[in-house]
Amino acid sequence: MPDQTPPIALDIEDLTVAYRSQPVVWDLDLHVPPGVLMAIVGPNGAGKSTLIKAALGLVPRAAGSVHFFGKPYDEVRLRVGYVPQRGSVDWDFPTTVLDLTLMGLYGKLGWIRRPGRAEFDRAMHALEQVGLQDFAHRQIGQLSGGQQQRSFIARALVQDADLYFMDEPFAAVDAVTEAAIVNLLQELRSLQRTVIVVHHDLDTVTDYFDHVTLLNVELIASGPTTEAFTEANIRRTYGSRTLKALGVS
């Protein structure tokens, strides 16, 4: 019996993305094996978020192809989860934490159908996983920043996807939330899920992630953290001046 799972979770070939003909991601090849926890790092404006959005078809690709588990995105939409940046929504929106979590199931529900008992139970379970079960009926504006981020992660968890993109989940959260999210990420990896995280903090890359992609418009390096996250690569990504400013050299 041949191995049923394809060897590559995310396969990006020759991807180029441009805003008004200004390249933001340039001729990028990226192959992510399944079951890894990967950070995407790079300076501001290096195209990290754009890379994710282009992979998900949220911004148009100027050239190149993207495959998930050997298939184009449209065929495997439900196997791919996404956590946008926390600042991308209006947290004063009248909705509850439970309701927000249920939104993760809308894709599986399809048009018109409403969430039922089973969906509620799954959402509550996801909220328990992120420690927000007692906040289920709160309006989302009443949460702290860290709790908001965790509710976003809960929404992704109910998607029950095989591959997750997370855009800066550690941005402006407290230490407790950061630890909780890291735990969840590692749990997901132990379940053979692939998680790709846009990350800012170079100090924690080695602790949190087993794979890393260094990006500055072009792909600088990608692979297991031990191999790719070298000083030379970091220097090539950030430029030596920036590196000194970060106190990494």
């Binding site: 929106f93 909705t95 509850t96 309701d99 289920a136 009926h137 709160r138």
Partner: protein, 410 residues
């Protein structure tokens, strides 16, 4: 900022968490609205001699249904931060009304279709300008609003110059005239209205997700059709509402009920239902007043009714309203003062080496002035301090309370 609790330890139970999702709130507001309507009908009937005959009932129902639709669909416009888009689109409808009139004459259906087309063109124009030039959304909306309105007015003045008899029918589109609603147009309004409500209910979850988080929505469904659906609903509701609210004030009917409803609700379904109720109330009562007193245009009356609801909501809504906020601040100030006075007495006693040492009242009033005095009174009433002349002493329970505060704060 709330204090964060570690996720591994059992979390403090949130007092709201087990409360069911407030359907009672909806029924309560429905009840209040029904009573308000009853009161309104009684007062207008008894004191202003408004006769609730068949014609007035039709007009009132028409206004109410249009208000309801505006409230429901306006909620989405407000939450998408597109409030003033409604203003631009309603102004943009005017040339459509005029052209339709020139082509087929005074047929409500044709006028509305013309209005919808013009309004839709206005939306496309705004999009085209913002996407191809450096001109921002606000200026693009201003250009559209003024230019389309001017074209509409120019056409209307031409029509008025040619057919004097029919001009009255068109002027209503500027300020709204509910009295023009007849039974057949009420039936049309009801039919289209039910369709709008049905569509909103059917695509509820898609509309909600698109409004809340369009980026995430795009990863799990095709958003263009939903986007188009929502814009169409907004345009249709604006165009129908023009009959009662008029081109200039339609934006108020679209957003005021939604803003008021937002203050009372924690969930979108509550907000939409409440906005519908508020809109219906404003639309119905505005239409009745204007029909009863033909000198007054309907639009301004509806807007004033809706604004009163907004004012009440902003002031008195629980957990958000201005009054609630002030009351909360006051309560916090008072309990803060009590605690400080208690701790001052305790510190004074400690510095004298005697838990029950007497402290002069000036010590407290010097530090906390009036609030300190009131706090002393409260402590005396609650048996935490006793007074002798102008000197104060902690009681046993006062001592305990002070120690507890200090421990909590460490």
């Amino acid at each position: 900022m709330q204090r964060e609790l570690p996720s591994s330890v059992p979390l403090m139970t949130d007092s709201n968490s087990r409360r069911p999702a407030l359907p009672g709130g909806i029924w309560r507001s429905l009840g209040i609205t029904l009573m308000a309507i009853l009161l309104f009908v009684l007062i207008t009937n008894q004191f202003f001699n408004v006769r609730y005959d068949y014609t007035l009932l039709v007009v009132a129902l028409g206004g109410a249904v249009l208000g309801l639709l505006s409230g429901v669909i306006g909620s989405f416009a407000v939450l998408r931060q597109q409030s003033l888009m409604g203003d631009a689109l309603s102004h943009a409808a005017l040339p459509g009304v005029a052209i339709a009139f020139m082509l087929v004459g005074r047929q409500m259906g044709a006028l509305l279709i013309g209005a919808a087309i013009a309004s839709w063109l206005g939306a496309q124009f705004i999009r085209a300008v913002t996407s191809t030039t450096r001109i921002k959304q606000d200026a693009a909306m201003g250009i559209t609003l003024a230019a389309f309105f001017a074209i509409g007015l120019a056409l209307l003045t031409i029509i008025q110059g040619q057919q004097n008899a029919s001009q009255a029918g068109l002027a209503q589109f500027i300020f709204g005239q509910a009295a023009s609603i007849r039974l057949d147009s009420l039936l049309t309004i009801a039919l289209v209205g039910s369709a709008i409500l049905l569509i909103t209910a059917l695509f509820w979850k898609e509309l909600k997700l698109l409004t809340f988080d369009p980026v995430f929505a795009a990863t799990i469904m095709r958003t263009q059709p939903v986007e188009a659906l929502l814009s169409t609903l907004i345009v249709v509701v604006i165009v129908m509402g023009l009959q009662v609210a008029g081109v200039i004030l339609m934006v108020g009917l679209l957003i005021a009920p939604a803003v008021a409803a937002r203050q009372w609700s924690r969930r979108l379904d509550q907000m939409v239902v409440l906005a519908g109720i508020f809109g219906a109330f404003a639309g119905g009562t505005g239409a009745i007043i204007s029909a009863a007193d033909s000198g007054l245009p309907t639009g301004p009356l509806i807007i004033i009714m809706a604004s009163i609801i907004v004012g009440v909501s902003i002031l008195f809504a629980p957990e958000r309203g201005v009054v609630w906020e002030l009351w909360k601040q006051r309560r916090e100030r008072v309990s803060f003062a009590r605690r400080n006075v208690l701790i001052s007495l305790y510190r004074h006693a400690q510095s004298h080496g005697d838990n029950y040492a007497w402290a002069p009242q000036e010590l407290i009033t010097g530090l906390y002035d009036g609030p300190g005095k009131r706090a002393l009174g409260w402590l005396e009433q609650h048996n935490q301090a006793v007074k002798s002349g102008t000197r104060w002493q902690l009681t046993g329970s006062g001592l305990q309370a002070a120690e507890q505060f200090l421990n909590e704060h460490r």
